[in-house]
C-alpha cells in the first residue's frame, strides 16, 4: 500500500517536471539561446540539484496544510490522482497551470471527502498557498518589467545583433537559475506528500523532515519529467503570450528565479508557473511597443482559478471510489482508472503533436502549429 502511494507520488512528480519545463526554458527556447533538446537536458540536471537545496517547502506541505492525524494512505493516493489528472488535462490544452495547486487541491479534496472540512488547516492554506498565489505573479511582473526597462535603457547604444548575441549568453545563466529554483520549490512538493504518506503510515514521527531516499527519488523523477519536456506548455509560454527578444528573456528568467528562490526559502509553496507567467507578461509591459496577448493570459488565469477546486473535486471523487471499494483493492482500482485516463489523454494528444521540432513555429492562435505541408483537409 505504502509502495503504491510512493509510486503514484513519483508519477505526479514526473508530470510536474514535464508540465513545468516551460517555466524555466520557454523563453530561452523561444529566443534561440539554447537548442530545445539541450535546454530540457540542462533543466533536468539543475532541477535535480535544486531539489537538494532547500527543504522549507516540503515541510509546509507535509505538516502545514492538513491535519496529519486524520490523513490515511488512501487519502494521499486519491489526492495524488486528482493532481495528476488535472496536470495532464491542462497539458493537453497547453495551459501552463500550476502543478502545485493541482497537488494541493487534490490532497485537500480527498481530505475533505474523508473527514470533513475541519481536517484542513485553512489558515495554513490561505497564508502559505492562496495569498502567495495571488501576490507572486504581480511581484514577478513588477520585477521583470523594471528589469526589462533597465536592460533596454543600458544597452541602447549597442547594435541590435550585438545586443541579441550578448543577452542570449546571459540567458543561459538566468535559465539555469530558474531550473534550480524550480527544483527548490516543485520537487519539494512531492517530497512533502511522500513524507505525509510516511507519517500517515506511522513510519515517520509527526513533524519529521523528508528522509534522504525520498529526496533522491523525487529529484530523479522531476528531472526525468523535465527532460521529456512538455513542449505544448513551452510553446504557449514562449510564443503565445508575448513575442520575446533575448534581453526580455533574460529579464523574465532573472525575475522568476529571484522570486521563486526567495519564496522557497520562506517556505511558500508558490506556483513556479504563476511566477514565470507573471514575469513574461512583465517583460511585455516593460518594453515599448511589445504586445501582450491578453486573451491568452486571460485563458491561463481562468485555468488557475479553477485548478485548486477542480483538482479537489477529482481528489474527492478518487477518494470516494477507493473508499467505496475499500482497502488496498480500492487504491488499486483508483490507479487503474488513473492509468486508463492518462492513456486516453496521451492518445488524444497524438492528433496535434507539439515537439522539439515545431515548438517555435509562428503563433497563430492555437497550441498545435499548422502542418508545414499543405494539408488537404483542415
Amino acid at each position: 500500500m505504502l509502495a503504491l502511494v510512493v509510486i503514484t507520488a513519483l508519477c505526479f512528480d514526473f508530470t510536474n517536471g514535464f508540465h513545468d519545463t516551460g517555466n524555466a526554458m520557454a523563453t530561452s527556447i523561444a529566443t534561440g539561446a539554447l537548442p530545445p533538446r539541450v535546454a530540457v537536458a540542462v533543466s533536468g540536471v539543475l532541477n535535480f540539484v535544486g531539489a537538494f537545496l532547500s527543504l522549507a517547502v516540503a515541510a509546509t506541505i507535509a505538516s502545514g496544510l492538513v491535519n496529519t492525524q486524520v490523513v490515511t494512505l488512501t487519502v494521499v493516493a486519491a489526492g495524488l490522482a486528482g493532481g495528476i489528472i488535472w496536470n495532464l488535462l491542462t497539458w493537453l490544452f497547453g495551459i501552463p497551470s500550476s502543478s502545485s495547486h493541482a497537488l494541493i487541491g487534490g490532497v485537500i479534496g480527498s481530505t475533505i471527502a474523508a473527514s470533513g472540512g475541519s481536517a484542513v488547516l485553512w489558515h495554513g492554506l490561505v497564508s502559505k498557498v492562496i495569498i502567495p498565489a495571488v501576490c507572486s505573479p504581480i511581484i514577478a511582473a513588477l520585477v521583470a518589467a523594471s528589469g526589462t526597462w533597465m536592460l533596454y535603457r543600458i544597452s541602447r547604444n549597442l547594435s541590435d545583433s550585438a545586443r541579441g548575441h550578448g543577452f542570449r549568453i546571459g540567458q543561459i545563466g538566468s535559465a539555469c537559475m530558474v531550473s534550480l529554483a524550480h527544483g527548490t520549490n516543485d520537487a519539494q512538493k512531492t517530497m512533502g506528500v511522500i513524507t505525509l504518506a510516511l507519517i500517515a503510515n506511522g513510519t515517520l514521527a509527526k513533524g519529521s523532515n523528508a528522509p534522504i531516499w525520498v529526496i533522491v527519488c523525487c529529484a530523479l523523477a522531476i528531472s526525468v519529467g523535465t527532460y521529456v519536456g512538455g513542449w505544448r506548455v513551452i510553446r504557449t509560454l514562449g510564443k503565445g503570450l508575448v513575442e520575446i527578444e533575448s534581453p526580455q528573456g533574460m529579464a523574465a528568467e532573472s525575475a522568476s528565479a529571484a522570486v521563486i528562490l526567495l519564496s522557497s526559502s520562506f517556505g511558500y509553496s508558490l506556483s513556479t508557473t504563476h511566477v514565470a507567467t507573471g514575469s513574461i507578461i512583465g517583460t511585455g509591459l516593460g518594453k515599448k511597443g511589445a504586445e501582450v496577448r491578453w486573451n491568452v493570459a486571460g485563458r491561463m488565469a481562468t485555468a488557475w482559478v479553477f485548478t485548486l477546486p477542480s483538482a479537489g473535486i477529482v481528489g474527492a471523487g478518487a477518494y470516494g471510489l477507493a473508499h467505496g471499494v475499500g482497502g488496498t483493492i480500492g487504491v488499486i482500482v483508483d490507479l487503474i482508472v488513473l492509468a486508463a485516463l492518462s492513456a486516453l489523454i496521451y492518445y488524444r494528444s497524438r492528433g496535434t503533436k507539439v515537439d522539439h521540432k515545431n515548438v517555435n513555429a509562428e503563433w497563430k492562435g492555437t497550441v498545435a502549429p499548422a502542418e508545414p505541408e499543405p494539408a488537404a483537409a483542415a
Partner: protein
Amino acid sequence: MSWINLSALWKIVVFGLIAGAGLPALFAVGITSLARGPRAARTAGADSDVLVGGSVVGAAIAVLCFLIVLAAIGWGIYEVYQIGHPATHK
C-alpha cells in the same frame, strides 16, 4: 498568527528587485562596456555583431560586472541552502 506575512512580502519584493532586475542590469552594463572601443567604431552599423570592442578599460569594467553577478548568485544560493536546512545550523 496573521493571514499575511508582511515582513516576508516586502523582503521578497526588495530582494527580488535587487537580484531579479539589478543583476541583469549589471550584466547589461558589462556587455555594453565590453563592446566599447575602436573595433566597435570601425564596424559600426545596425548589423555589427562585435561583442568585444577592444577597449581595455571597457573590458576591465565588464569583467568586474560579471564577477559581481557571479558572486551575488553564489552568495544567494549559499543563503538559500542555509535557510533551507535549519537542522544543520550550528
